[in-house]
Symmetry: C2
Subunit: 340 residues, 2 copies
Amino acid sequence: MRGVIMHAPGDVRVEERPDPVIEEPTDAVIRIVAACVCGSDLWPYRGVDEPQDQKMGHEYVGLVEQIGDAVETVKPGDFVVGSFVISDGTCPICSAGYQSRCVNASFIDGTVGTQAEFARIPFADGTLVATPEYPEEDLIPSLLAASDVFGTGWFAADAAEAGPGKTVAVVGDGAVGLMGVLAAKQMGAERIIVMSRHADRQALAREFGATDIVEERGSEGVVRIRELTDGLGAHSVIEAVGTQESMMQAIRATRPGGHIGYVGVSHNVELPGDRLFMGLVHLHGGPAPVRRYLPELINLVLERKVDPGKVFTKQLPLADAAEAYRLMDRREEVKVLLWP
Amino acid sequence: MRGVIMHAPGDVRVEERPDPVIEEPTDAVIRIVAACVCGSDLWPYRGVDEPQDQKMGHEYVGLVEQIGDAVETVKPGDFVVGSFVISDGTCPICSAGYQSRCVNASFIDGTVGTQAEFARIPFADGTLVATPEYPEEDLIPSLLAASDVFGTGWFAADAAEAGPGKTVAVVGDGAVGLMGVLAAKQMGAERIIVMSRHADRQALAREFGATDIVEERGSEGVVRIRELTDGLGAHSVIEAVGTQESMMQAIRATRPGGHIGYVGVSHNVELPGDRLFMGLVHLHGGPAPVRRYLPELINLVLERKVDPGKVFTKQLPLADAAEAYRLMDRREEVKVLLWP
């Protein structure tokens, strides 16, 4: 089969590799229906992380081809959406809803690689969720989004306790930030402020439910958010970048007692304890336990209550994966879907 | 009147200063019935913070002597317990329960100084809570504890979401940590692990409800807590020290999805973002909004359901304040009460 390999920063190729097979009784092998490029794939692409002939891709929807003897909740022919982290679904951490840190957790990225035609998914029962039937074609991008970008934005909004009467600020206008907007809107947030200086992303943010745009960055951005919130800061702040600057922006833009949901993969961040202490904020984040939310998110999509698939501003065949990376790296597209 | 002044590290004196008077219509002047020395008073005492002829003391119970024209909820003759932070009680931050970051907040420490015979308490309605009548004498230490050390331990346990079925770990066997034990016990925690290597504090911790003691520190301490929790870490961790080591211990001892309540005043702490991110923990802390909890804590004391006053292992007259600091600095006493 064909799949994407990143050999070195900027060097993305679609190459032949062996078809996956069932290795453990808890495995499923799926035919990938749609995959995509994640913002986090750009870290190795840009050389911030060091890729070494890495299988790429961790977002996916697919059709179950084969299952191991122990798999009970999905069967061949099922259309499935899966989390970007493998989880057994039964350990105490999974039971508490933190499947992304399951005691048997592993990241699909780098091991499985779903920018491909097929994938072996370990712990299929704990990782995959089947839809009742094969979905209508136009819903596939939104279901794909649920497997990471939408699920991660949803977790961020949940961790930030977005809800009725709340003002939510979103740091980061990438795909995850935009999904955070959609999630906050769906959770009933009263006001959603997005920090963005790109007209196309501002437009998409407004479409997803943003009420205010802040173009200023750093301290000026924080000042602007305070101005918009009676000098207090936002109740809820979604951080979707992962840098020192974005984390500090989030912390400083949150009112005392407020909540920060951070999902930008942390890179060289050091949080000053005294600032956190005096901020009296709640901080929660990390790799999103998407599996917890999948049943709910799939329903929202199938009932056409949300349309997270709009975050895919471009769709390409898998063969053009290198072009997909290039477009996202240059911020010419928000997020690119790949059809195998 | 007499009050404690710290002139320089280690230099604590009881000196005459003018009696406080009503300055604002929202003020109350109270006669201090009992005060005490806080662990945080030891930072300037040890020269970590720089004291400059600083009025000391922020924990207090007292009798209202005079009130300003705008004060409505306390009257002369009332016995009152107050928070260690002034709060107006009406701003949106106070209304949300975060009085310690009230828009008009100020720390009593350094400005008012309650290690004294009298104190002017600004925003009396928002800061003080009156008991129904003058309490029985033996309850006074416990009511005094509510004004900071018990209120802070309670906040830490609340922020750590201690409760039924939870394993709570407590980093720090100082007075606040011990109060965290008491709070966690009162909240119904199933198991309470205290990190301590001092026999006297271990005994007090057990008296307050600790079920396990861990003597190891640093990485070994974390390993020990993991061993006691099926390799997962505690559900809830109370951090009551404020150093880099103690914060990292708390973060590493918490299971994914677990909660850390941190109340040790942060000194030179830098939290690595990647460790926090992969930890997937909840982090909440800062100066405790004691005023939120005071009515509940006062009731618990008056109903004799808790006895936080036991944390005062020594009682001295105000005149011996220097000795009180010395005893606490040398860890010869857990906490010293001062009678003016």
